[in-house]
């Protein structure tokens, strides 16, 4: 039953609950698909040897009449930035090659407790630094739509796995767009929750004030169901919010059924509707706005004048926090150790290890962060960037007085070619212009497919942003838009190349 891989997690859930299929069958179908296509796509760094036995255990529990969660028995892929006690967790780096953590990240632990079946670990830019997955130490992931193109980054592996039907759903992490931009360029759905909405415990840190774990799926409903499982307060993360959260699944189901968006104010961010974006992206974005208008929503133009400083602020704050977080790779407690010829002090061993274990982008950002935090430059760079962060938060606050959600294209272009920007860090950084503001302000944001660009027949993504703690609004409005877009374009991934 190879078409099991074509079903959404919500559909698999219904079949599993009705006992029309077993988790072993669903899991085997995905393992077969991985075996057939991952040689080309390279979405996975590690495929679990325990997937079938985990699935069998869920089937047995269901047979015994156990109370199981909504997605019990559904397979899931996990970005390699998340610690898993039974699989290597490398974050795409040679520094952690073969490292098996002694514990599970909280989102992973919650998925296991809910009966999901981990299929394996997905490829990513090293330590989540990048927008193309080309900075993985283990080679790039390829976009299932065109194997010569990037799948986005840093979570290109999770997005490609879901787009290529190698997993129905996956976990990602989003520091400046690493869930949403891969979603946009692979035709998948990605959500960055409100900062603090999902625990960061066990997520190998890039920039702690920006990182957020979230779902990578093919439907808005699946993202909501996965978010329900992984979210909520975790005492192991001191930045975890204690707020009670509504059911995101209920919000998505309500949105999918809504026949009108009357009374909903959609704010188009003027600064993110740029004439510099690819023409087909802009065209699909404006068509989506027309669909929203047609459903009764009110479109308002809002201005966020400081968003033009967001990329600059981000590339000060991120390297600064990363240079501090990556200091833990000292060749003592875990990971690689390289001893210089003839031996050396612990400091010389550490320097040789970091030279050998970090790739070029990681070195670039650690050095940049060290500069931004160094005496004499701290105020001009890091201090100013933190002030810009305040200005961007104020822009959001003003905009959300005029609109219930803010919208923009999720990425300025469709997928670019592998190798096109890898040697030009500044060009690569500008790819995150649409996604970074939400991270700086901590607000939730979603990317969902809005059709193929006419000029290259590659996926484009629509971004929705909501005020902090209003993630449910994304699922409600996102599900309505998804239905409207589906009526217009059909299922986006239905037209993706078969790969085999």
């Amino acid at each position: 039953m190879s078409d099991l891989t074509r079903l959404a997690a919500s559909e698999l859930s219904a079949l599993l609950r009705a006992r029309d299929v077993s988790s072993v069958e669903v899991t085997q179908a995905h393992l077969d698909r991985i075996a057939a296509v991952d040689g080309d796509v390279h979405a996975y760094l590690h495929v679990s040897e325990a997937a079938l036995s985990t699935a069998a255990a869920i089937d047995a529990a269901r047979g015994d009449g156990a109370e199981l969660g909504a997605l019990a028995g559904v397979p899931v892929a996990i970005k390699d930035v998340l610690c898993t006690h039974d699989m290597p967790s490398t974050a795409g780096s040679r520094m952690l090659e073969g490292w098996v953590p002694p514990y599970d990240a909280t989102p992973v632990a919650r998925m296991r407790a809910a009966g999901l079946v981990p299929l394996g670990k997905t490829n990513m830019d090293e330590f989540a630094m990048g927008s193309s997955t080309e900075h993985s130490a283990y080679g790039p992931t390829r976009n299932p739509w065109d194997l010569d193109r990037i799948p986005g980054g840093s979570g290109g592996g999770s997005a490609a796995a879901v787009a290529a039907f190698e997993a129905p759903i996956a976990l990602g992490s989003d520091t400046g767009g690493s869930i949403r931009q891969p979603g946009a360029v692979t035709g998948t759905v990605g959500v960055k929750p409100t900062y603090g909405g999902v625990s960061r415990y066990g997520a190998i840190a890039l920039a702690s004030s920006l990182d957020q774990v979230g779902p990578v799926t093919r439907t808005v409903l699946d993202a909501a169901m996965l978010h329900d499982i992984i979210g909520g307060h975790d005492p192991k993360d001191s930045t975890s919010l204690t707020d009670p959260w509504p059911s995101f699944e209920a919000a998505a189901r309500e949105g999918a059924l809504a026949d009108s968006l009357r009374g909903v104010r959609i704010g188009v961010v003027k600064e993110l509707d740029s004439p510099g974006f690819q023409a087909g992206v802009t065209q699909r974005f404006h068509e989506a706005l027309e669909l929203l208008t047609g459903a009764g929503a009110e479109i308002v133009e809002v201005s966020a004048p400081h968003f033009e400083y967001a990329v600059a602020a981000y590339y000060v704050i991120l390297p600064a926090e990363a240079s501090s977080n990556l200091a833990k790779f000292d060749s003592v407690r875990f990971g690689l150790r390289v001893t210089p010829p003839g031996g050396g002090t612990v400091e010389q061993v550490m320097s040789a290890t970091r030279e050998a274990g970090f790739g070029p982008e990681v070195k670039r950002r650690v050095i940049l962060g060290t500069y931004a935090l160094s005496a004499g430059y701290y105020d001009a760079y890091y201090g100013s960037a933190q002030q810009v962060r305040t200005l961007i938060q104020r822009d959001f606050a003003t905009a959300f007085e005029q609109a219930d959600v803010l919208v923009s294209p999720a990425a300025p272009t469709t997928a670019f070619r592998i190798g096109e920007k890898v040697d030009d860090p500044l060009a690569m950084y500008l790819n995150d212009v649409t996604t970074i503001p939400a991270n700086l302000a901590g607000v939730p944001a979603m990317a969902l497919p809005m059709g193929l660009a006419p000029e290259d027949s590659l996926p484009t993504g629509f971004q929705l942003m909501a005020p902090a703690r209003e993630d449910a609004r994304l699922y409600r409005i996102g599900a309505t838009l998804e239905r409207l877009l589906g009526e217009r374009h059909g299922a986006i991934l239905g037209s993706a190349p078969a790969l085999v």
């Binding site: 098996v100 002694p102 875990f334 400091e347 550490m350």
Partner: protein, 99 residues
């Protein structure tokens, strides 16, 4: 223009404990110069009346009850170490010969 020279990069690499090659220092000097010039625009709008934000959603005094919980065993804690003697991490000499 930025003031990033190869000497700056060499110094930063020492602070960051990365033994960069000469070739890497040369490449990074040019790249960092361009990046620093580009991000310097943050100071354009950072007037003194704007407070800094270090954290997107402010939280204060997050604490837990001071009770012992389960921790990693020694074996678990050492399992990923490049070198250990069974109960401790093994490291190289902390001081060089001349010290």
């Amino acid at each position: 223009m930025s003031e990033i020279t190869s000497e700056t990069v060499k110094h930063l690499a020492e602070l960051a404990r990365i033994a960069l090659s000469e070739e890497e220092i040369s490449t990074l000097t040019g790249q960092l110069g361009a990046i620093v010039d580009s991000v310097a625009k943050v100071s354009e709008v950072a007037t003194p009346d704007v407070p800094a934000t270090s954290h997107p959603i402010p939280l204060a005094n997050v604490a837990r009850a001071d009770v012992p919980g389960t921790t990693l065993t020694t074996e678990q804690a050492l399992a990923g170490a490049p070198e250990s003697d069974g109960s401790r991490f093994v490291v190289s000499a902390i001081l060089g010969e001349e010290q």
